[in-house]
């Protein structure tokens, strides 16, 4: 019982009853990470605002959002990313209720594979746009399109690198308190990227296909 029930002041961090010291030590770390995520969200919000402006005024004779957005591909990517969020939830549950390292590692590995699949699909989208001659240098709109999606892409890639480090740490250090709270933070990061992706799908792909 790694994270047994208790007062749950943060999702996933309810070890107050069993181990109050560890709970107290971990709480500011998780709280600090929430604040970092807020700051990161501001970054995405500003990129989305830039995209919103550029997708109206920055076409410059190049492709429109409707032409540049591949709704079918976005659907596959969304399915992959949402599935990866689901499998990460199962990772978190394995961490919280079952001191079961194999389940945890398994679900996290599946999450990583789904993430890799997402990156692969997106890379294919980027390549196909560039193949059509629609590189980011062509217009302000394409610059904004590549930058918004590219920033999300980089975030997911960083999440995967982080995950790789966590696999090594689980092997080397075991599931000690530090490693456990890092997995919780990675989970928050991963779910946030899902939330951001929903925003991107709405703004870039759904709105683009309607425009």
């Amino acid at each position: 019982m790694r994270f047994a029930s208790g007062t749950d002041r943060h999702p996933g961090l309810n070890i107050h009853g069993r181990d109050p010291d560890a709970h107290r030590a971990a709480e500011p770390v998780i709280f600090g990470f929430w604040i970092f995520l807020m700051s990161d969200l501001v970054l995405f919000a500003l990129l989305m605002a830039t995209y919103a402006s550029m997708s109206l005024h920055g076409i410059a004779g190049g492709p429109t959002p409707r032409q540049a957005g591949d709704l079918a591909s976005a659907g596959v990517e969304t399915a992959l990313l949402l599935a990866s969020s689901f499998t990460f939830s199962l990772t978190s549950l394995a961490l919280k209720y079952r001191d079961d390292r194999r389940a945890l590692v398994g679900w996290m590995a599946l999450t990583g594979l789904l993430g890799l699949g997402f990156l692969g699909c997106e890379a294919k989208d980027f390549a196909s746009l560039i193949g059509k001659g629609w590189a980011p240098e062509l217009s302000g709109f394409l610059s904004a399109h590549f930058t918004l999606l590219g920033t999300h892409f980089l975030h997911v890639a960083c999440g995967l690198a982080w995950m790789a480090v966590m696999f090594v740490q689980i092997a080397v250090r075991g599931l000690d308190q530090a490693v456990a709270t890092r997995i919780m933070r990675l989970a928050l990061f991963w779910h946030l990227l899902d939330v951001v992706w929903i925003g991107i799908v709405t703004l870039v792909f759904l709105q683009g296909s309607l425009s």
Partner: protein
Amino acid sequence: MPTFTQDWTYWLFGLLRWSDFPPKADGIATFAASLVVLGALAVVGLVTRSGRWRWLWREWLTSLDHKKIGVMYIVLAFVMLSRAVIEAILMRTQQASAIGQAGVVSADHFAQLFTTHGSIMIFFMAMPFLTGLINYVMPLQIGARDLSFPFLNAVGLWLTAAGAALMMASLVVGKFSTGGWSGYPPYTELGFSPGEGVDYWIWAVSLSSIGSTVTGLNFAVTIYKKRCPGMDLLRMPLFCWTALCTSILMIFAMPALTVATALLALDRYLGFHFFTNGAGGDVMNYANLFWIFGHPEVYILILPAFGVWSEVISTFSGKHLYGYISLVGATMAIAVLSFTVWLHHFFTMGQEANVNAAFGIATMLIGIPTGVKVYDWILTMVRGRIRFIAPMLFAITFLLCFVIGGLSGVMLADPAIDFAVHNTLFLVAHFHNMLIPGTLFGMLAAYMLWFPKAFGFRLDEIWGRIAWALWSAGFLVAFMPLYPLGLMAMMRRTAQTTRAEYAPWLWTAEVGAVLIGLGLAALFVQLWVSVRNRARLAAPLGDPWDGHSLEWATPSPPPEWNFAVPPEVSGRDAFTALKAQGIAYREPERYEAISLPRGTGIPVVIGGAGFVCAFGLTWHIWWAALAGLFAMWGGVVWRSFQTDLERTVEAGEVAATHRHWLSRVHAVTPVGRDAETSADNRGLAEHEA
């Protein structure tokens, strides 16, 4: 942008060539480059000669102690302040002497001067100064042992230092941007500003902005999570409230700067079209992004100073702060409103009148909470027993001058007036009128107020007053003439003019600039004299000013763990309450062992790697940029595998240190406020009912 060549020099050295190194085209630039190199060599030589490398590395550079990190931030701020003041004097000399003639520097060099002056004063003087101050003071005031994330704190310091080092490198290698501190495209795009200048600016500012984001996060978490028992939010000293609001602004505003500079970098490096003239680029996106950061930034700079003024005025008036709740409310109101006014930086750039009017009104609204603060400070002084020593003298200058600056701000908030004086020296006068008496004098007052806490001896009062007189007079003489010059339509950032009627005003301003230079020198003399007389000025018992808050309840300098036992608080002005009850220096019933973070060199490595990465990007030395980037992240990963992160100080050592201090306290006669600046003031204040 280079054409893609297979040339080996390009792969090895990017765009860097011998001709980018000194000697420079003009004598002044060569002299400045030599100063940087000689200054660096002098520091290295001095440390080597005194055999202090090991000490410097172990005690300071690798320390995670918030107090030492705070001091290092402030040292950095003074170094950068010195450079930026010299540049200011040079610019004043240029404008005064270049009426109908060439002046002392070329137009291009002048443009570099105003760009570096602004960038340094904002990002590498004011930001490190206030960050250092919050670092030092805030944990002590809330009764904490350190910040929540000491390692992250050190990373923030070394990223900021890397940015500052890049600014200094630009003085020696190549040129800096000529695009102003706000770096407006399309001028800063590749077509108009080829070469390394703008890239230097982008990466220096980016390093500082990432550092400030993580530091703001750290401060906010510390204030929310690490207050001592009884320290409710509404019992915190006002400085902590301003620190909290500034941190919140950093968390939300800094990403906008990161986005603005990153998009500009994409334009310059990869040929994107965010802010270019053609292909759908739109400079208004930059203006909006930059000022969504830039306006909150102004309040990031001023709010901590408001906190300092609250501490200084209440301490040296011998009174509780008047209107504490209204000051907290006003601080919060300013923090929120600061996000609603960014458009007033570009009233003239094409919005319709109604949009301008809305932002003009929002801007004027900020005058209300600020006015509340000014009245609160004045009412704190009413019927107080005011001691006119240096920090308080700065506070008087602040109150008088800041109101003038605020009034010119309300004028500028009117779009119609702004249209008339936009981009003139009137604006330059206005923002210097806010930032010098407000922020800079606040930082200097704080330096004089808390110096004895950090080093155990007071600063020389005579030289403090000389510095005050020179800075105050220098500010007025240098900047008041800029108001009429602005109304006479003299444009800002002008290297040469033809109108003779500007001359008397510009020469007056030149005199003021020299006075400010002397004021800076007086600060260094003060430090020198004080260090020499440190035995006579010693105040190791910790409370030289009859302070109100918990930082004064510790020895000076405080032990690494700050408090022997966590203090318990039952109201505002916690230390005053303890003194009134006669229990300020009572021995605690029992001591416990304390865990402290071990020092580590990894943050220094991360900062160094950040510098290498930024320098590589600036000069297109791709291998260095990549190596730096990987080394930075490598440092983070390396840290995550370390396990033995803390050391324990045994209860016995804590007790011995604390008892030693208490025995010294009990051996000394408390001094009254009349003897505050005399040699009798050892840091034990007589309680005055």
